[in-house]
């Protein structure tokens, strides 16, 4: 499935060529998740369904993800059963695909993969796209209760990490990290009243993990980035964050599946929470 050797969980990635040969596999469901919501309508991988993070993955009232019943309904209507292999792809170098993948992992869906290179690579290779909406028959899905504690970090955990100097990864752009984007406090940026970063967080922009074509870098390059340059290691409890957790889910995927770190959590409250939190410590270089 993946042509890269050395990844801890190489089976979490599929390549475009492999997927093209397996589009008619009844045990596979391709899921498109994009920032640009109309891309799917403009053309998608044949058989792919769309899962939108706003409409499908988020609770409509409180800032949280859907519950078990909603997840069961989401999977069922898209023809996803407990044994279905779900392959996620999307725009923006798979930010939102990784985000959807991460939400599926809150429910412990066992067979989930990311299409290496996402929508862009599929299109760059001039592979087939269709506007036809697939008519997958509904499936039966029995979901577990969400197990957030395994891969999701909350505000108080992050505060504890700050106090104990636990490893935090800020995957935003350098200008967001420094707070440079926030010139005047009268103009709220990113929905936050303050700019900067969580004290102790290392700046490792998510984009450093991918090549120009959107595919993930080699395991050697990733180790150089995260371990040699930034002193992360697999024995640490790492928390990654960005603005709302979508870019940091991309980094979570890299650390967890490509480098095999067993304790990585995505702080989805991220800067929109921390930067608005009364009394939360903030660091600026």
């Amino acid at each position: 499935m993946s042509t890269h050797t050395g990844y801890a969980r190489a089976d979490a990635l599929v390549e475009t060529g492999w997927l093209a040969e397996h589009l008619n596999d009844p045990n596979i469901r391709v899921v498109e998740s994009d920032e640009d919501i109309l891309l799917y309508d403009q053309g998608h991988i044949p058989g792919a369904v769309m899962v939108d993070w706003v409409a499908d993955l988020n609770d409509r009232v409180r800032r949280d993800y859907l519950g078990r019943e909603g997840f069961e309904q989401l999977c069922s209507k898209n023809g996803i059963g407990n044994d279905t292999t779900v392959i996620f792809y999307g725009d923006k170098n798979n930010w939102w695909a990784c985000y959807a993948f991460w939400v599926f992992q809150l429910f412990g869906h066992p067979n989930a993969k990311i299409l290496n290179g996402g929508r862009k690579k599929w299109m760059d290779e001039k592979r087939e796209l269709t506007k036809n909406k697939p008519g997958h028959p509904a499936a039966s899905y029995k979901a577990q209760e969400r197990a957030d504690y395994k891969i999701r970090a909350f505000r108080d955990q992050v505060m504890q990490h700050v106090l104990t100097k636990g490893p935090l990864v800020d995957v935003r752009s350098p200008a967001e990290y420094t707070g440079e984007l926030l010139h005047m406090e009268a103009y709220p940026q990113e929905g936050a009243l303050r700019g900067g970063h969580i004290p102790g967080a290392k700046s490792i922009p998510w984009g450093k993990a991918v090549k120009e074509d959107g595919t993930f870098k080699s395991v050697e390059e990733l180790r150089e980035l995260y371990e040699s340059q930034n002193k992360l290691s697999a024995d640490q409890n790492v928390i990654a964050y960005c603005r709302i957790g979508e870019r940091s889910s991309h980094t979570w995927f890299v650390l967890t599946y490509l480098l095999g770190y067993p304790n990585v959590r995505n702080y989805d409250g991220s800067w929109t929470e921390w930067g608005n939190l009364v009394g939360a410590p903030i660091e600026k270089p």
């Binding site: 109309l38 706003v54 103009y187």
Partner: protein
């Protein structure tokens, strides 16, 4: 009544064939608007006559299909209107054209251009209007 696909086709037409695209020469107002949620950016240019009526408008931008199509739609909406009429426009003038159901999960993208042009009106009134893109700071909506 239009169906979903007709709304999508309308949006895609504005995205692929944007009206009034590009910088205006000698604008009276330039306003940049950003959507921090997803990186959409638009720059709106307005030229006014002595009665503060918009005689020309254009946009530049980068971002998702909905935000850029909306900017194209907004330029068509504001040409011929006075600044007071522009300020009075409600979001529905854009959302209804694009299809409320189609854009309901991306309302911030759909309203970015209108918010930006209405912020331009406020800046103009306050005597703070930028006259070039390089002068204009990005307002976040």
């Amino acid at each position: 009544m239009q169906d979903r696909q007709e709304f999508i086709d309308f949006i895609l037409d504005h995205y692929e064939n944007p009206r009034h695209h590009g910088a205006l020469e000698n604008p009276d107002v330039v306003m940049r608007g950003g959507n921090p949620g997803c990186g959409d950016l638009v720059t709106l240019y307005l030229r006014l006559d002595e009665d503060e009526r918009v005689v020309d408008a254009s946009f530049e931008g980068d971002g998702c299909t909905i935000s850029q199509a909306a900017a194209s739609i907004v330029t068509e909406k504001v040409i011929g209107k006075t600044l007071a009429e522009v300020a009075a426009l409600g979001h529905e003038v854009v959302i209804d054209d694009m299809g409320r159901e189609v854009v309901s999960n991306r309302l911030r993208c759909a309203t970015l251009a209108l918010n930006t042009v209405q912020a331009a009106e406020k800046k103009y009134r306050a005597g703070q209007a930028a006259k070039s893109a390089s002068e204009a700071t990005v307002e976040n909506f």
